[in-house]
Symmetry: C2
Subunit: 182 residues, 2 copies
Amino acid sequence: MAKENYTKYVLLGLITTNCRSGYAIKQIIDNSISHFWKISYGQIYPNLKKLVDDGLAVVEDTSQEGKPDKKEYFITDAGREELQRWLQQPIEEIPTVKNELLLKLYFSRHQPTEIAIEQVRFYQVELASRLKTYEQIERVIQNTGEGTEDAMYWLITLDYGLRTTRAMVEWCEDTIKKLREK
Amino acid sequence: MAKENYTKYVLLGLITTNCRSGYAIKQIIDNSISHFWKISYGQIYPNLKKLVDDGLAVVEDTSQEGKPDKKEYFITDAGREELQRWLQQPIEEIPTVKNELLLKLYFSRHQPTEIAIEQVRFYQVELASRLKTYEQIERVIQNTGEGTEDAMYWLITLDYGLRTTRAMVEWCEDTIKKLREK
DNA sequence: GAACGCATGTAACCTGTTACATGATTGT
DNA sequence: ACAATCATGTAACAGGTTACATGCGTTC
């Protein structure tokens, strides 16, 4: 099966959520979905243009009060069809992360144990802080969006982040113990 | 902080583990560390050459009986220093996976719930199979390498995979329930 | 007029995969 | 002759980041 260009679908999907300009898309990505998807301006703007070229979206110049002009993108029927097709298609692959910490641990045999412990501890601190952010966001969604279907899917993706992160934190704790006892 | 070229360190690290040729490196990656790191021949061979150019490794032509010739790479003192430096340096970033399933769920608001459930179920099946592989490998290591320090670090990285994958499987179960009850 | 947020854009670069080409050696 | 495994390599392409350039509008 040919590999899909995901960026296309991210943009297509986001402009259906009232997130219509390149800038707004970048904002929502950084604030809401960055825990499972990231994207840079260098990808956003050229690809938005491409959506229009491919007839999947149309663009409209909008002037706002108190802010610079912006370009608003709207999905077309063809775009909606394309997005739907992709959403209904089974996922192609389960992600395999490149994990710098595990790589370092894998080669730590000939290193002082101290250093490995230090690495894991640092990782743990970062994860704990990430966890706090997730928990905070969860509370916000539960308070504001309660009941809406949007909120449901948002909470589901967030829950994924919460659970996997918690598992990682626990692994850190136990790994540090193991290394100490060595 | 400047971003490191991890491939370099993977190769440098692997040639210290008696994994000396491009082919052997590819094998060990596919069989042992692919759950946290992947790499293709298109990266391996040019980068091995680069290690030599940079004085971090030396290469030696070796002829074997019953098999074609191969090139064996050995780390130099400079290479060992460079590897050590990297291993002791704090990790730069916690990985953020691009997760196709979460992306699709995020945009599933306007889709029939059936489809979302189907996607999650498929993901769950894949994860379950991955989990079985991990558990099998774990048993093999515990039986053969017991006690050696190599085995310890191997088990630690594997444990990471086991725990996070288990958390994901549980998330799948609960998410399917949630979607059904909707 | 400086700083800041909003907004769009791109060129240079880096990383990495895919697909292909090549060939040795062994076993059937 | 051929398939399979071992072994090395590269060119074309795809995907993505970084760093920069540009400019509007508001606030201090």
